[in-house]
């Protein structure tokens, strides 16, 4: 009708098709993917954005950037695999008695802004944690009574005889007094310009990637090989395999084909155990409160098969010693049969079940009234490896006549169920702290055994035995290695005989390494550090590497 507003239908159609294509056509010639790190700098897959990075370098924030712990140093760093301590800001510590720890503070250390580091920074840090208990992530002030400085010595007076406390104290990251004394709210501080003592300082920061540059003032700068670390926010399996990472922490499907296959000459992996993935029986409920029943469950399982199905054969089956092997081999109680390993034995399992009052009737295991034994296993939704393990358990127990249901609440609800004791059997993980005392204390100490309905933070199975509490108390108070070994052996026997948790397989620490640019990564042959990319463990690795070919 109005000639000017008339539109050709065909032209419109062409236009709309063109619009569809336009979005895809505009940069066909450019190659995708993020650029690999430049020479001399190390590409690290350690920090995952969600999906981008929030800038938070507060060393005491639970959601801090992972790189924070590559910059701040603690007094000493513990290798969580074998518990060995390496001195950093302290040169060592002594314990005049079981209630006192004295740290000798290193001299000649400078903060990255050039100001000298001293024992008063250490005292300030601990005072900061005392004033803001939200920052006390390691729970130092649950064990320390007071802190005193005398020259280069810092003395901690403990609340009770507490030998393992030193290991908690020494992990505290030390912050500079001259910076942090003017921070108004340390809990909400995001610390955009970290002043640190460690091997690296913050380089550039963007929401998709940040870099750490070598600290020129570092007190052992000669031991630091990489001039720059690059930490991208996206570290998918596809990225890790294709972008030439030097070090990544990532569960990798078919690792030999994917990660190693990407560069057979240089790429390697090491998956040491980081925890005992276990079934926690709810000890407040029948029949789980019967040790014979727990033994029956334990002998009914083929742990190797469970380990293989859950973790693609990357980890070993766990034994009933409560230790992580081979890391903690030195501490193993040699009196345990087969070093604590349990090989499936159906007859033995049936004998134990019979003692607990469950007998075989046809294909099913029934109680005195003839009803089939049935219970549920609770695991968190989305933990696919655990689910595979639980499904294997379900199959193995079905074969012996038990009906197992799988309960998969969301992670938050799973955690709530675990903490308040609302489950029959629940998946969980224990151990791996690097301290025998802490590992067993968390698993067995009756002080954590809150009544069902009241949340607890450890000992989810609610194990309670005054004799075991006594062993733990004795272990806490002794600094004699022979005595420690003896008490540790007793605790292993408790775990083996009383089955407070049915350990099934080791949770792996998924370390992927490339020696193209840097060599000296931790490995099975040289386990000087764990492959963990978080906490202070990376300090051990970053001060141990050398440039390839140098």
């Amino acid at each position: 009708m109005h000639p000017g507003r008339r539109t050709s239908l065909t032209a419109l159609a062409v236009l709309s098709v063109a619009a569809v294509l336009a979005t895809s056509a505009c940069s066909m010639s450019v190659k995708g993917g993020s650029a690999p790190a430049a020479n001399g700098s190390m590409l690290v897959g350690a920090d995952n954005g969600s999906p981008t990075f929030e800038k938070n370098f507060n060393p005491y924030a639970p959601n801090k950037r992972v790189g924070t712990t590559y910059m701040y140093e603690p007094l000493e760093v513990i290798n969580s695999l074998d518990g060995k301590e390496t001195p950093f800001l302290a040169t060592g510590h002594t314990a005049p008695d079981a209630k006192t720890v004295v740290f000798d503070i290193r001299t000649g250390v400078k903060w990255s802004d050039g100001k000298p580091f001293s024992a008063s920074d250490v005292a300030f840090t601990f005072q900061l944690l005392k004033d803001h208990k939200e920052l006390d992530l390691k729970g130092v002030w649950q064990r320390v009574d007071s802190v005193a400085v005398d020259g280069q010595k810092v003395t901690f007076t403990l609340k009770t005889d507490d030998v393992p406390a030193a290991r908690v104290i020494e992990q505290t990251l030390i912050v500079p007094e001259h910076v942090w004394k003017s921070v108004k709210d340390p809990v909400k501080e995001t610390n955009a310009k970290p002043v640190v003592t460690g091997p690296y300082v913050l380089g550039s920061f963007s929401p998709n990637q940040y870099t750490l540059a070598k600290n020129k003032n570092y007190w052992q700068a000669d031991k630091v090989a990489a001039d720059k670390l690059v930490l991208p926010a996206a570290n998918t399996q596809l990225d890790v395999v294709n972008n030439g990472y030097d070090w990544a922490y990532s569960f990798m499907t078919e690792v030999d084909k994917t990660w190693v296959g990407a560069n057979k000459q240089h790429n390697s992996y090491w998956f040491p155990p980081g925890g005992n993935v276990s079934l926690y029986p709810n000890l407040t409920k029948a029949p789980f409160n019967d040790v014979n029943f727990r033994q029956g469950l334990s002998w009914a399982l083929d742990r190797s098969k469970i380990a293989n199905n859950a973790e693609q054969g990357y980890v070993d089956a766990a034994g009933q010693s409560g230790l992580l092997l081979p890391n903690q081999k030195a501490a193993l109680n040699t009196a345990l049969p087969d070093g604590g390993a349990i090989a499936q034995n159906t007859q033995k399992a049936l004998d134990f079940f019979a003692k607990a009052g469950f007998t075989k009737k046809g294909d099913t295991l029934v109680d005195a009234s003839g009803k089939q034994l049935s219970f549920s296993i609770t695991t968190a939704n989305g933990y696919t490896d655990w689910l595979q393990g639980v499904k294997t358990v379900q199959g193995q127990l079905k074969a012996i006549g038990i009906d197992v249901k799988i309960n998969q609440p969301q992670p938050a609800a799973y955690n709530q169920a675990l903490q308040s004791g609302n489950y029959d059997l629940a998946m969980g993980s224990f151990g791996g702290t690097g301290s025998i005392y802490d590992d067993f204390n968390n698993l067995l100490n009756s002080q954590f055994a809150a009544p069902v309905g009241t949340p607890t933070t450890s000992n989810f199975e609610r194990f309670s035995d005054p004799k075991v509490d006594q062993i733990l108390a004795a272990l806490k108070a002794t600094s004699d290695p022979a005595e420690q070994k003896k008490l540790g052996d007793q605790l292993q026997t408790v775990v083996y005989d009383q089955v407070p948790a049915i350990a099934m397989f080791y949770g792996g620490l998924w370390g992927l390494f490339s020696d193209k640019q840097f060599t000296g990564w931790p490995s099975e042959k040289n386990p000087y550090a764990s492959p963990m990319t978080w906490d202070s463990n990376p300090l051990l690795i970053l001060t141990h590497l050398t440039k390839a070919g140098a």
Partner: protein, 326 residues
């Protein structure tokens, strides 16, 4: 006027209901934000008692009984104060949303409009030329493609175009070393990164518009006034666009209003697959981490924008189609 007032009243009532539900729903979920944070940590190893205590202290898990929480929630809402996020502590919810909002609005918003316009035009064309290849191609193709699940299309594109062909970046909204600013380079980079997610949304949503428009159009083409216009000797193009398409557009317009309202919800699956820092990804984070303040603010935004879009479409309808005013 009465019509508009009625609609406004209805809007306010639904708004209150939505706000209240929005308050209640996250609290009905089992577990607390601290539980979620601890469960997340527990994946990489056992969490010690002191870490758990510190997390609880930092998150300051909600205090007061449910009524006190409700009253303070309404009060804060009046000031647009959504509080501090638990997951991204100590960031405020408002800052997180304002960082994510532009990415989603631009990506999902633009693609929704492009998809609606293209789809509608293709639908008109298909109905007008029905029986020819111009009909079968978009209709069959649209029906086929719109059956693809979002995430599956996204993964296919990611693998073939992003990985095998290496044509486009596989994740993020902009390059690794780029800091967002107002330069040409940044916009180019952002555009380049948006291609795969945009394509995913376009592919999966286009078919719906084509089919909807074609069906409406075919109904309209059978109407007496179209026959009358043709009998009067008007040009076919005039009849198609100015008589048939205009009337056939009405139902599609409603759907478009709703789709625009839903843009604010982001496109969760697509953003998740491509690590796109939009509202959908933020919502995913909020829900998986039991982040009440963030969840509430996001749900509220989504509800309010859908309600507003609905309201606007209602009012527009009243203007476009006098019959609905009765």
């Amino acid at each position: 006027m009465n019509f508009v007032l009625k609609k406004v009243g209805l809007l306010l009532l639904t708004l209150w209901a939505a706000i209240t539900l929005n308050f209640l729903l996250p609290r009905l979920m089992p577990g607390s934000p601290a539980d979620a944070a601890i469960a997340k940590l527990a994946q990489s190893g056992p969490v010690s008692a002191s870490v758990q205590a510190a997390i609880k202290a930092q998150l300051g898990v909600p205090t007061g009984n449910i009524w006190e929480q409700y009253v303070s929630y309404l009060g804060n809402l009046a000031h647009f104060d959504f509080g501090v996020s638990f997951t991204f502590f100590p960031q405020s919810v408002s800052s997180l949303i304002s960082a994510a909002l532009p990415w989603t609005i631009v990506l999902v918003g633009v693609v929704t409009i492009v998809s609606f316009v293209c789809g509608t035009l293709l639908g008109v064309l298909a109905a007008w030329k029905r029986g020819t290849w111009l009909d079968t191609l978009p209709t069959v193709g649209g029906a086929f493609v719109s059956g693809f699940p979002y995430f599956w299309t996204a993964l296919l594109l990611l693998f073939f175009l992003g990985y095998v062909a290496g044509l486009f970046p596989r994740s993020g909204a902009y390059g690794a070393t780029v800091t967002p600013n107002f330069s040409i380079e940044f916009f180019g980079d952002a555009l380049y990164h948006s291609i795969l997610p945009a394509l995913t949304i376009l592919i999966t949503s286009l078919g719906g518009w084509v089919l909807g428009m074609r069906n409406n159009m075919i109904n309209t083409l059978g109407e007496d006034y179209v026959t009358f216009a043709e009998a009067n000797g008007l040009k076919p193009k005039t009849v198609a666009l100015r008589y048939a398409a205009r009337n056939a557009l009405l139902p599609n317009l409603t759907a478009f209003g709703l789709a625009l309202g839903a843009v604010v919800g982001g496109s969760l699956l697509v953003e998740r697959v491509f690590n796109y820092p939009g509202l959908g990804y933020l919502l995913y984070n909020a829900v998986t981490n039991q982040d009440y303040p963030l969840m509430q603010a996001l749900f509220l935004m989504i509800t309010v924008s859908v309600l507003l879009a609905n309201f606007i479409v209602d009012i527009l309808y009243g203007a476009l189609d006098p019959r609905t005013r009765r």
